[in-house]
Structures are given as C-alpha cells and as structure tokens.
Subunit: 166 residues, 2 copies
C-alpha cells in the first residue's frame, strides 16, 4: 500500500534524550539497551509504531527490534495497537508505572526468587544430612537467615506493587 504517512527519519534531539533516559533506566534493571531504545521511542511517539518504524528510526536490525518487542510484550510494557493494516502490526507503550513494575516483578524477579527458594530447600536437606559436623549449627543459622530474607521479599513485592499503583 502506498498511502504511507510521512515517516520521519532519524531522531530529534528531544527524542534522543528521552531514549537515553530509558536506556539508563533499563540498564539499572539489567535489561539490554535496545529494550530501552524501543520503549523510549514508543513512549515519546504520539501514535503507534510498526516494527519497521523502529528499525528505520532507531537504526537497529530487524532481529533486535523483533526480539526487543517480544520481550517488552512479555513484560507487559508494550501492546499491539488495534490499528492493524493487513498483516502489519503497530505497537504502543503501556505507560502505567503499576503495570510496568508489575510485569517486571512477575517476569524477572519472581522466577529468580522461586529458584532461590528451591536452592534453599536443597541446602537445608544437606545440613540435616550432615553427620555430627561441628559447623552444622552455624550453617543452620545461616540458612534460617536466608529463609527470612526470602520470606521478606515475598511480603514486600506485593506491597511494592500496591504502593506504585495509585
């Protein structure tokens, strides 16, 4: 189709700075820079963008854009807009902090927390199965402490979400 709206190419100073802002942000969270670029451009754009828009304006590869969008959708930070031309999809950011934090916690934090709790259980078994080891009391104390940390995290995360939502 040739009814294309004029697509700006390159980024204005303002857009670049906003994108920069988000690149810094995602770096703290341990996410790749491209995630920050994509979300940043969507955030600063009035209207949904297609994958090709992201590729053209950010100067990144189609692969990066596709993978980045995938992760952002999984995080719930980006959703497909209802504007669809044929097969072409358009994407827009979710700009509610509550959703963003919730998605991050659900996708990035909870899985690690869960695997940590699994390891903790293994460790507790190991200590129980230690013969009359002089260190086992010390070890048990340490593991108890780790258990408390983990519990604390499980309590704090929902509170955090609640606090950030409104």
């Amino acid at each position: 189709m040739s009814g294309d709206v004029d697509v700006e190419i390159g980024l204005s100073d303002f857009e670049s700075l906003v994108i920069d802002f988000f690149c810094d942000g995602v770096k703290i969270l341990g996410l790749p820079k491209s995630i920050g670029e994509i979300y940043g451009l969507l955030f600063v754009s009035q209207g949904a963008l297609s994958l090709d828009d992201l590729v053209d304006r950010l100067g990144i590869s189609k692969g990066s854009a596709s993978q980045g969008l995938k992760m952002l959708r999984e995080l719930g930070a980006v959703r497909a807009s209802d504007a669809v031309e044929g097969r072409k999809m358009y994407y827009e950011p979710d700009v509610e902090l509550k959703q963003l934090v919730g998605g991050f916690i659900k996708e990035q934090v909870r899985p690690h927390l869960a695997s940590g709790e699994g390891k903790l259980a293994d460790l507790k078994k190991m200590v129980e199965e230690m013969p009359g080891d002089t260190r086992s009391d010390f070890y048990a104390g340490r593991l108890e402490r780790l258990g408390r940390w983990s519990k604390r995290a499980r309590v704090v995360l929902p509170l955090l979400q609640k606090f950030l939502g409104r």
Copy 2:
C-alpha cells in the same frame, strides 16, 4: 609468621551451593559474579577471611578479590574485622538485610535516580523552548508522567528500607 591456622583449600559441596545462591542473587542486581562469590564465601564461613583466603579458596585473582572487596565495603556488605595480624586484614560479612538493601539503594539506585532527575529537568527546558510545536503538549504530558514516576521512587525507597529493617 608460621602460626597459621590450617586453611582448607577448595570448597565443599555445601559451600559451593551457598556461593551459587549468592551468584544468582547478585546477577539479578546487575553486580559481577565475583561479588557473589566473595560475599557468599564470607557468609558461609564461620570467622573472618583474608584477601588471600578468598584468592586461595575461590580460585580467583588477587585483583578480582581486591576490587570485589572494595565494592562490597562501599556497599556496606562487608567490613574489616577487628582481628588484624600486622598489616593483614580480615573481612566479615554484614548479614543484616536492612544494611544490605540500604547500601545497595544508596550506592547503586540513588545515583541513577539523581542523574535521571537531572535529565528530566533538561528535557523540560527543551519543551518550554519549543516554538509553537504541535507536539509540545504531548511531550509535556509525557514528561509530567516521568516526573511522577521519579517522585514515586523517591517516596518508595525509604519505605522499602524501613520495611526491610525489622
């Protein structure tokens, strides 16, 4: 001096697993693995360890151990024990979650937050100086939102610390 206490070499299965646990933990926080190894070994050791102990038992370089200890001290996660032999220092972990979280927030989170606020201020100036740009209203709205996020973070962090401390 040859009054050395016998130093175990290598790591027991139990110790390795605890260290693993912490390596995972620091990875979420975006800190290098060696930080997790060092803190993990200190955490699982009954009694302070010297830099050379860390090098020998973890099999890491002196440089890594030195840098890692430095960062851990800055984070307030490790402190010098009062047991000092001559020039040799011994280190022990701070095992209070409150301290650990507080140190991380102070050293890793707040600086980023501060620089983010600086960038936000720049962006606001840019929008104000935009001529009769049609997008300036949209931009102003977006920046307002970012400002609210930043404010929310400034409120939540102290609460988080309070909640984790007891």
